[in-house]
């Protein structure tokens, strides 16, 4: 198995890096690709040092860093502390995003429809089949919902977005946890799969009475009708940068080994319930020390000067308190 992995990893990297002679190479999650490339572009202008990031998926990113074929790996699903220890890796959250349920319902404007985790779970379990179901009506007494069947849309490809979405459903619906669980690809009880965030966004845009979930940026750019959610504190929240940041700052980063915090369903009255961080993985003792140092410099730059760029692309920068913790981790754990 390791043999195959190494071959696959080596092949991917050989194919991806040969075109550039970049100092730093990274690979992994597709979700942060736009912001990583924007940061890399700005960093190159400022320092002349290039960075080559290949968005090949979180799972592949983990494999690449384990095989030591890249300077850093990137993943939406964090590794557990034991796994980090075993592979000699350091992990930290780099930037955050949020996942929003989106719908295509005639006459319903963005933010009007309110859903709870439990109802969302029942819709994705196929237990709630029609829009005028009593459970949805109870949350939305003022809305007139159609008596039509719900078309459930989800990702067809394995993805970090799905990981965080199913993690949220597992936390808010016992039935979901027992029957389906959390994963980058799961056994979906109902619905059709579309490829990528753009696939889901496109499908929702075209299909009447559909519901799906996408990264916030995709909902915004495609002008999709997002829903409001009821969070852990029982408050109705809209997907806004403030709500996402509230979820991040309410999370207990300091006590989590390896920053293993999944940001879904965090406490706090203002927290958006389906918020997610994306993580960076690096070796404590890298074989190429120069590249490793250069990568740290790049991440430092991104934390210090990249916030505005992140917000422009609808990502959420890490709160300063968390950045301080991360910088301490670097100096303590990464050997140069």
């Amino acid at each position: 198995m390791n043999f195959v992995r190494t071959i696959v990893a080596a092949g991917m990297v050989a194919a991806s890096t040969s075109a550039f002679a970049a100092d730093i190479t990274g690979a992994g999650a597709t979700f942060p690709f736009p912001i990583y490339s924007k940061w890399a572009d700005a960093y190159k202008k400022e320092t002349g040092n290039g960075l080559n990031y290949q968005s090949i998926g979180s799972g592949a990113g983990i494999k690449q860093i384990q095989a030591k074929t890249v300077t850093f790996g990137a993943t939406d699903a964090p590794l557990k502390a034991e796994q980090l220890e075993k592979d000699g890796l350091v992990q930290w959250p780099m930037v955050m995003g949020a996942i929003v349920p989106v719908v295509n319902l005639e006459g319903i404007k963005p933010g009007e429809l309110v859903l709870s985790g439990e109802v969302l779970g029942d819709i994705y379990l196929g237990k709630i089949k029609k829009w005028d179901d009593a459970a949805i009506a109870k949350l939305n007494p003022k809305l007139k919902l159609p008596a039509d069947a719900i078309t459930v849309v989800r990702r067809s490809d394995g993805s970090g977005t799905t990981f965080n979405f199913t993690d949220y459903l597992s936390k808010s619906s016992a039935d979901w946890k027992a029957k389906v669980g959390t994963g980058t690809a799961v056994e979906w009880p109902v619905g059709v799969g579309a490829k990528g965030n753009e696939g889901v966004a496109g499908n929702i845009g075209q299909t009447k009475n559909a519901i799906g979930y996408v990264e916030y940026a995709y909902a915004k750019q495609n002008k999709l009708t997002h829903t409001a959610m009821i969070n852990k504190a029982g408050k109705t929240v809209q997907p806004t940068i403030e709500a996402f940041q509230a979820a991040a700052s309410n999370a207990d980063w300091a006590k989590a080994p390896g920053y293993y915090v999944i940001l879904t369903d965090q406490p706090g009255e203002a927290s958006w319930p389906i918020t997610a961080a994306t993580f960076i993985l690096m070796h404590k003792a890298a074989t190429d020390k120069a590249a490793s140092q250069e990568a740290i410099k790049f991440f430092k730059y991104a934390f210090e000067k990249g916030d505005k760029m992140a917000e422009e692309l609808d990502y959420i920068p890490m709160p300063d308190s968390v950045v301080k913790l991360i910088e301490k981790t670097w100096s303590a754990e990464i050997k140069s």
Binding site: M1, K63, T184, E187, A194, G199
Partner: protein
């Protein structure tokens, strides 16, 4: 006789030593050529063997875990602990989409080929021929996107509701063409596949139809046959082997096509009776889940790949057998 003596005298004058050397140089060249071509041919076997071995090595954990039950388990739950994986859904999807695609592509492809070679006015022959070959040149991802944005909505809004209302209440067909209409379904994927394999069937058929000796056709026309009768009784029987070869090539493409199918099949591992429901194929399942998979899940996906390999092998072997039988029957 005299000339030959003269010739051998000339050769002798050049010296017996040189002659032997020249001959051995020729021989050396020949031997080298023999071994180089032989090595090229054998390398195919080595590459194929390497692929099979690495697939088996990669799939081994899944083979050990699930055994033969992998083939008839329908559940695909990679996030369960331990993962429950079964290939029945993807196998069903692969076969059903290929069969539907062939059901559409064979008559249409042969129709185009017959029209082009027998009926088409000369000035129209080139544009149609070019268009068919252009179909083969379009990258599959373009088919996928077109399927997602254009064909899918058309089928879901127009074609599928029509079919569903026609067959509503009819036994069997009512279940095959059951709602709700969907942008992403087995049928949409099969239709895209049919368009994609069309050029394989058409170009090969056109080529083999052209090999029919004109005298055979002229003779048939001479005894008063219609165009239809000529095609049916002269052209098709004469070219049967080649046409079937083209169909098999198309079937191979349909079984393995990945990108376009991944876009519009809906990736559902459940087997549903309606062809308007989402499904998945072996290659689409691998393409969708491989990047984010690990451990047993990844091993299961590699095992799916091995299955596709075996499936394609059997289809091609069956095609060879069929061709051999036909050839024997034809008495060649």
């Amino acid at each position: 006789m005299a000339e030959m003596t003269v010739e051998s005298d000339v050769m002798d004058a050049a010296g017996p030593y040189d002659r032997a050397r020249a001959l051995s140089a020729f021989k050396l060249g020949d031997v080298t050529f023999y071994w180089i071509t032989r090595a090229c041919a054998i390398s195919v076997l080595l590459i194929l063997g390497g692929i099979i071995i690495s697939l088996i090595v990669g799939a081994w954990p899944a083979i050990r875990e699930y055994g033969a039950a992998f083939l008839w388990t329908q559940r695909w739950a990679p996030s369960a602990d331990p993962p429950v994986l079964g290939a029945l859904g993807p196998i069903y999807g692969t076969l059903i989409t290929s069969v539907i695609a062939m059901m559409i592509a064979i008559p249409v492809g042969l129709g185009i080929a017959i029209f082009l070679t027998e009926i088409c006015p000369l000035w129209l022959r080139r544009p149609i021929g070019l268009a068919v070959e252009l179909l083969a040149g379009i990258p599959s991802i373009i088919y996928g996107m077109w399927g997602f944005f254009v064909l899918g909505p058309f089928l879901a809004n127009t074609f599928q509701p029509f079919m569903i209302s026609i067959f509503d209440g009819v036994p069997v067909l009512g279940t095959v063409f059951a709602g709700p209409p969907s942008y992403l379904s087995l049928f949409n994927a099969a239709l895209i596949l049919a368009i994609m394999v069309l050029p394989f069937i058409t170009s090969i058929s056109v080529d083999v139809f052209k090999t029919v000796p004109p005298v055979l056709k002229e003779a048939a026309y001479g005894v008063g046959c219609t165009t239809w009768e000529v095609v049916r009784n002269v052209v098709i029987p004469y070219t049967r082997v080649g046409v079937i070869g083209g169909i098999m090539l198309a079937l191979g493409r349909a079984l393995g096509e990945t990108m376009a199918v991944t876009f519009i099949i809906g990736n559902s591992f459940k087997i549903q009776s309606s062809i308007f429901a989402p499904g998945t194929t072996i290659s689409a399942a691998i393409a969708s889940e491989f990047a984010e998979s690990d451990g047993l899940h990844q091993s299961g996906l590699i095992l799916l790949g091995l299955l596709l390999f075996v499936l394609t092998f059997f289809v091609l072997a069956a095609a060879r057998l069929m061709l051999m039988r036909l050839e024997k029957k034809a008495g060649n």
